[in-house]
């Protein structure tokens, strides 16, 4: 059973300012969807390995050689706000991670 509190918490984790109406609507929809997909947990036993990549490859890497970089202009071209060199954001509530 999914509650509105859970959906509000998930919205916070996902950084989406959902409206109360959206939270209500999503709570119902998610409940239905989760009910219908919960059966995945019944199919595979502990002996079945997980598949994270459809085609299994290993040790894919690149040589340690620097290549072309973006120009400052290119880097900042799509930015909503910048100071000519860096991206500008509003004050941060949290702290250094």
């Amino acid at each position: 059973m999914i509650t509105t509190e859970q959906v509000a918490h998930l919205a916070n984790l996902a950084r989406i300012a959902l409206t109360p109406a959206e939270i209500d609507k999503l709570t119902g929809e998610l409940g239905t969807i989760v009910d219908s997909i919960a059966k995945v947990s019944e199919v595979a036993g502990p002996d079945v390995p997980a598949t994270s990549h459809p085609i299994r490859l290993v040790n894919v890497s690149r040589p340690d050689v620097p290549g072309a970089t973006l120009s400052t202009e290119e880097a900042l071209a799509g930015a909503p706000e910048h100071d000519g060199a860096r991206f500008k954001v509003s004050a941060i509530l949290g702290e250094e991670q």
Binding site: N12, L13, R15, S52, H53, L57, V58, N59, V60, S61, R62, P63, D64, V65, P66, G67, A68, T69, L70, S71, T72, A75, L76, D83, A85, R86, F87, K88, V89, S90, A91, I92, G94, E95, E96, Q97
Partner: protein, 504 residues
Amino acid sequence: MAKPELMDYDKAIELFEPVLGFEVHVELNTRSKMFSDAPNPAHPDFHVAEANTQITPVDLGLPGSLPVVNEEAIKYSISLGLALGCSIAPSSRFARKNYFYPDLAKNYQISQFDEPIAFDGNVEVELADGRTFQIPIERAHMEEDAGKLTHVGGATGRIQGAEYSLVDYNRAGVPLVEIVTNIIYGAEGDAPELAKAYVSAIRDIVVSLGISEARMERGNLRCDANISLSPRGSGKLGTRTETKNVNSLRSVERAIRYEIQRQAAILAGGGTIIQETRHWHEDTGRTSAGRPKSDADDYRYFPEPDLLPVEPSTQLIEELRAALPEPPAVRHRRLKESWGFTDLEFQDVVNSGLLVEVEATVTAGASAQQARKWWTGEIARLANAAGEDAATLVSPQQVANLVALIDDGTLTDRLARQVLEGVIAGEGTPAEVVESRGLAVVSDDTALIAAIDDALASQPDVLAKIRDGKVQAAGAVIGAVMKAMRGQADAARVRELVLERANA
């Protein structure tokens, strides 16, 4: 902010057992970044750059961009894991750690979670009195660094009260290895010293491997320290705090000591410790409360679908193992012997955290005793006064050059100290400072003799005493000559010449 109450340190240790844990982040000095081919600012060739110039679409997390692992970073990580005495995982994986923060371009960090590349290791560290301590290593895993934030407006560039922040992603994607210890018991009152010795040992290891610049003040090496206090006899672990922003060996020691005293005062007063991140402030010598740990720390780790498992061959692992430099403990024994140091002299170097510098100075041509004397003496003193790590003030090559100038008679020890100050002040190499400050010893006897003759002529009473055999009277003349030469003369030579001229 009211000054928090601190318990006397010895009292704290009497009442509580400190329990430690460390997370040390090491920036690797590969030429390119962990997951992109942008130049790596943690490589000495790419230190200096304008903001947002060392980036590709990958580092900026642009839509559609994809990471590709740097093969050299994998090798460095394996080498580090081996040097930490770890097992190397036959298969390890990258995982995404999901959280929103403006310095994190994708709002997830590519890290490793349940399958790190190295695990179950052990690092031997030495305390000042020569006792050794085994630090158990839980794991070492690969990940990427985040960008850098600059807080503008408000007070002193701190995050609190800032009006806005600016983001530079040059550092985003710099390869990191995070070394995580198991819980460390039994440090007792040595906890602060042990912490410093541990970080110093990690630094020695990565420097000897050549995989990081390991400059703490540049953030190449960063230590997060977990500390809790267990009331004696309770058999229960206390609530821990995680202290961040500890940017020098010295502050590692101070921060642990502070946190023990702070927690002890709270616990003794009947309070509870909040599980939280704390920030060390070098200037005030305190930690301040940061973000409380909570359920919101749900990082939703899952295997990184854009990257494949890393499965190093036994052959590669054994090649890297064979290429490892000798372990620090073995190295210590060898160096002590080859330098002919006493236990005390060698321990002095180790305790100062300057073994690497002394060795490099010897390699650059200085005698072991001179290298030891300068690093643990004058340089350490100046570093202490400036509140910085000695290694950051001057390079081993410069110290070796300075010693060479003393050895060839160009400088006296006293002059050399002035030259050192000049070098630290950024005035150039020792030879350049000698030149620009005009500090060389006056070795021209003609100039000395003229000064001596002047001094003897102006102090006939002294001259008479010397001629009477009262040699100690020469001191006054020597002093006058040294003053006239502005100290740039070899006092022993002056003495010789004074006696010679007086009796001529």
